[in-house]
Amino acid sequence: MTVTAETSRSPAPAVARRAKRSRLLPRVAPYLQAAPLTVTLLLFLLVPILTIVAVSFWDYDSVRIYPDFVLTNYVELLTSPVTWKTYLNTLKYAALAWAATLGIGFTVAYFLAFHIRSTTWQMVLFLLCTIPFWTSNIIRMISWIPFLGRNGLLNSGLISAGIIEHPLEFLLFSDFAVVLAFVHLYTLFMVVPIFNSMMRIDRSLVEAARDGGASGAQILWNVILPLTKPGIAIGSIFVVTLVMGDFITVRLMSGGQSASIGLMIANEISLLQYPAAAANATVLLAVVLIMVAAMLRVVDIRKEL
């Protein structure tokens, strides 16, 4: 608006020309500024996904893949009982990891947001939780081996305490280990958005509830929990999509004894069965998008930033 004021005050031709240019620039500027992001995402996200969808209809043999339009990849995928069993297993992991990360994440965020009074301490403890996120996931998985193994810390501890006689075999290379690793890796994705939601809750609401005679549990259930829903939804989207697409955690922590859809795709890739992997990936993407759409009904992400 300052531009128009300027031009009306000094209508010299040079100034007018500059004003014209500076009126054009603001209109074009957003497109120029958004261009690098748009190009990157189109080139490395949208086109690759369209490639996957296209290749899922291609044919292949043991040597190479052929452009074609066949439905065999989907037919083979959807009629195989292995696929359904694997989906069930993956959903089981997602449900268990989701419940555990939500419980732990909510409790941790609640402690940080409502029980730590100084902002400095809040930030310090919050950072303490986030630092592991910035280190290698693979290393964090490996680091469970000396802890959970047959002769690991936990087993030897339990044996020397006299609680068990023989080492527990289910600790490492099992579903238990897989879910434990998921919780270890991804709880942070719950803590951060839930903490963020909690920090925006007007503290006078809590006070009003207390003045109205609500107990601590009632405040938590009727005031804090409903207002934290958006954070819970965002955290849930992260955890569920990360677990649904995972293959490395399942491979490392189950010791090759369990399967997930991601692992199935990774195996097909390593066997160079790209069209089969692509069909599998397309179905997985559809499943994940449906799950996310369901969770998005709870929250408008753009409002939550």
């Binding site: 990157t40 995402l41 690759p48 939780c129 697409g245 795709i265 890739i269 790209y274 692509a278």
Partner: protein, 276 residues
Amino acid sequence: MRETRRGLSFYLLAAFFALFVLFLYGPTATILILSFQGPDGGLTFPMNGVSLHWFRNLFEQQAVGDFGGSFRRSIALGLAVMVLTVVVSLLAGFAFRRRFRGSGALFYLAVASLIVPSILVSLGIGLMFNILGLEPAWYSSALGAHLTWTLPFGLLIVFAIFNRFNPAYEEAARDLGATPWQTVRHVVLPILLPSLVGVGLFGFTLSYDEFARTLMTAGSFNTLPLEIYGMTTNVTTPVLYALGSLTTVFSFTVIGLFLLGLVALRSHRRRRGAKD
């Protein structure tokens, strides 16, 4: 909300929090200790003496793979991703402050980039390069794959920054006769700088540790996470822990440097503010 006395719930929650932190750091601490395992020691406790044997082993043994090369590649890639993430997401953040056609679609594309499973990005880019007859490499396909993960994070952080940004500063600069570029250079960027350091940290560390997106896009030369993953399947000595300890220490150093930078920036400003 002022409570006069800390109740029982505080101590219970504090204990829960302490256990959570132990859960987060405990395993990593274990492998830090075990990487100093004696030459005859195994993958688990007890410690069979204390030595630097496995660290030396890491740098000697060629059978382990190209540890040095993959480390250098990961750092170069991480730095490239860091710079691109900061610049591209900041630019896009500026764009989103105004209305433009397609902004909704671009936003949802960015969010989709976060929820599409990594292995799909990896597979898709790998197939795309394959069909186009291009050779995937860590500096082309893997760079793009990493950006699909770091840019949305960067963008979301920049959104959050701009939502808390008071436009009155810009208006003041404009009223005092600053050109748009001067306003950005001398007013907006200095205010945003600390948060941009955070975006940079995200970009670097996410790329440095990324595995799934690199799997099919790194080409013939491995990045460090791929190298480590290869080791997990065929190495059964504490040399694995030595490598884990080294990269963890490196990550901590990077995080520490970023945090130190932030603190230094803040105290520098406070000093300058006091002088003015």
